[in-house]
Symmetry: C2
Subunit: 140 residues, 2 copies
């Protein structure tokens, strides 16, 4: 496993990143990328996003769960890639758990809006780049 100093850097990068680049497999097998706000996360293992069921991204993940998350800080030239799978959660209990005030802007019908869902990412492995050094690790 990585040493404590590097792990601290990685956790800080994850905490500081509001806009995570979320990658999926799109039409004809081309990779796709889009910035998404993280709603909640559990260390490096699990990340939750809110999104529209009707969006291209959600439809892609329903067909192919393969995903990666990318965290990037331009000033420090460091980046973290997490490889894993994205699951689309449609049940009202999950949707209500994550619901936040103000989201009516995106989902007018509220926490049970059929076009609102939670995308849950579970990490398999990580690649961390710091200047010219590279660290590859499993996420347990």
């Amino acid at each position: 496993m990585l040493d404590e100093k590097i792990m601290k850097e990685i956790y800080e990068l994850v905490e500081d990143t509001r806009d995570i680049i979320v990658c999926s497999i799109g039409e004809q097998g081309y990779p796709n990328a889009k910035a998404m706000f993280k709603v909640a996360h559990d260390g490096l293992k699990t990340f939750y996003f809110s999104t529209n069921v009707s969006s291209n991204r959600t439809q892609q993940f329903m067909k192919n769960s393969k995903a990666c998350l990318y965290f990037f800080e331009s000033k420090k030239i460091n980046g973290l890639m997490l490889i894993g799978d994205m699951e689309i959660l449609l049940d009202n209990e999950t949707k209500q758990n994550f619901w936040q005030d103000g989201w009516e802007m995106y989902y007018p019908l509220g926490a049970t809006d059929p076009d609102y869902c939670i995308a849950k990412f579970t990490s398999i492995s990580g690649n961390y780049y710091n200047s010219l050094k590279k660290y590859i690790f499993r996420v347990e």
Copy 2:
């Protein structure tokens, strides 16, 4: 095609973005992402990057050319995704054309270093997001 105001926004985003998120298809079909500096570009159609032949990213593109570029500006909440193919150029003429002073740091043997190559991205289509609006277009 898109109106002039939107095209101007897109061109400005491309010019202002130093670190482009480059996505590839990696092991077992998972999408991969990494920030790369653009070396040169021709509008929205062609982008050139310098990279190591031995890098994971280059090896992935040699097996599967499917790629996307992502340009993102956090402050304005706008993003541009370009879908296309990445070609790895290994000939010395191309490598010398793009060579820049100071790159010995990355490629100690200079412009003909066998571990230095140019990755050429050619766009097929674009998705531009501006606030909650979305614009999809072909890149001719």
